[in-house]
Structures are given as structure tokens and as C-alpha cells.
Symmetry: none
DNA sequence: GTGGTCTAGACCACC
DNA sequence: GTGGTCTAGACCACG
């Protein structure tokens, strides 16, 4: 998963997060059925706002790459 | 009854227990009037916390698949 | 809503919470569509453990007196 | 609550326990709504068998002096 | 802030 | 041995 976020550039931060996480999933760094970093971890690691991390999560859910389970976390979709 | 619990995956642990026990009942592995594994056995076998095993039990009782006999254990409902 | 929980008495603590909240609903103290005290408030106000407060909540939900809105809280059921 | 049990005499041990506990209730030593000593405590304090302590408890319940709440303990009946 | 999940430990009566 | 109750703490997504 890429480590740098460009807060100044033209690409929305949440988009950068989405692309970064998607790349990590497609590369196999994040395995199906395994958790992706929690919202809190994303916030701390990338220095983004909570809302930004949540927005990125929503996009990934809409794309079917990630599933949310309440009380447990966000996971890479199996299949 | 399935032997593996995925503590890292998206499915809540107590749900995995419920599904596993229900499958064993429906397959006939656990017969009506016969006991299902005790809470302590579930804890030891699957490495889950007591509260988690009890929560699974409660769901099965609510579904009518299992009934509790105090001091004796949990049994597959007859009928 | 009654203010005293008897931790030494015969009635299970979660049951006392259920009875207390139900009484407040039926008396109109807690109005339909309005929130009931949060889990954290119950914990702090009555000196009970989180699990105990959640157990009481679950009973009220099962009885149809209360409904949960995720991320917002527990509300008295309308109707 | 009396401290001596006569294991050799003609009075059944469970009866001696019953009388002892009843006396403690009637004297106010054990208050209504408060717990009486647990089965384990009776066993340890008086050196009686578990079955004996349980039998004494049953008699007290039948007499309406004590009420049992599963998971919590035995309590002096209110009123 | 909210409730949901989970762990680890304790004590209880009952069989 | 059995399940039921309770505490104290943790982490999660969601608003």
C-alpha cells in the first residue's frame, strides 16, 4: 500500500486512499477475507480526517471490493 | 461440526459457532434429544471466550434449535 | 426512571435496568421517538458493566419497546 | 448464625443447618433481600457435604424464607 | 458521541 | 460437571 498522500495536488485525498487500498488488494497485499486497516489506522497513518477515511471506505464497499461487518471491521471481499 | 474458527475474518465468531452447530444439527450429526458441546468445550476447542460461546448458545435457543436443561447442559430440541 | 440499582439483591442487575427503563417508557417519561439513556450513561449512572447494560438493551429491543439506530443510539419505538 | 454442627447426634445435619439459618434470618442477622451464605461457603464453614447444604437450601425455599435466583445466589425473601 | 464484538476472569446454584 | 450473571477492559464502524 502506497505511503504518500498528496494533500496539495488535484486528486481528492479520499480518491488517493481508494486507489492505494485497491492497489494493495489487487496486488494481494490485502488478502480476501482479511481485514484492511481500520479507520483509526488510516487516519493516523496518512494524516487524513476521519470523514475522508470513511468516504474512501464507502467507495470500496460500493465497488464490491470491501465488506463491512459491524463491530468487527472492514474486510476484503471473498471472491 | 466444522473444526475451524476464523478469528481474523469478517464473520463474527459467535456467528460462526452458531452456523457450525446449526449445520451439525441439520446434518444429523447432533441428534434430537442429544447434547451439543458444552460451553466449556466450545471455549477449549475453539479458543473463544466464554461470553462468546454463551452468546452463540443463546441464539440457538432463541431459534428453537436447542434447549437448556439447568445443571445438565444444552440439548437438540426434539421435534 | 428509578435511580437505584441493588447490586446485592436477588434481582439480576440487567433485569433491574430493563424493568426501570420499561417503567419509564410506560409512564411516558421516555417518549416514543425519543432516545433512552445511552449504554455509557447507564454504565456511569448505575455503576454497572458495559456488558450488563448491553444485555438490558437487547432485552428491550427483543420486546419491541426500543429500536437501535446505528451510530445514533437507542430510541423508544413509535406506535 | 450458630457455629457448631453436631455430626454425631440424632438431628440430621441438614436440619441443623436449616435451623441455624432460619434463626439467623429471624434474628435479623440475615436481612430480607440480602444474600445468605453460598453453598460453597456453607460447605467450607461447616464441613458439610454439598448435597447436605443444597438440601437445607431447598427446605428454606419450601418454607418461603429464602428465594433462589439462578446465576446470582440465595436470598432472604422480602416480606 | 453511538452500539456491536470479543477477551479474560470471577462467583453463583444445580446435577 | 452444567449454564447464568457480572466486571473490566479492549477495538471496530458509524454519525
Amino acid at each position: 500500500m502506497e505511503l504518500e498522500i498528496d494533500h496539495e495536488g488535484p486528486v481528492p485525498v479520499y480518491r488517493q486512499l481508494v486507489d492505494s487500498i485497491r492497489a494493495a488488494i489487487e496486488s494481494g497485499e490485502f488478502q480476501p477475507g482479511r481485514p484492511i486497516p481500520s479507520v483509526v489506522q488510516l487516519v493516523q497513518t496518512y494524516g487524513v480526517a476521519r470523514g475522508t477515511a470513511l468516504k474512501a471506505l464507502r467507495v470500496l464497499v460500493d465497488e464490491g471490493l470491501v465488506e463491512i461487518v459491524q463491530g468487527r471491521g472492514a474486510y476484503v471481499t471473498r471472491r
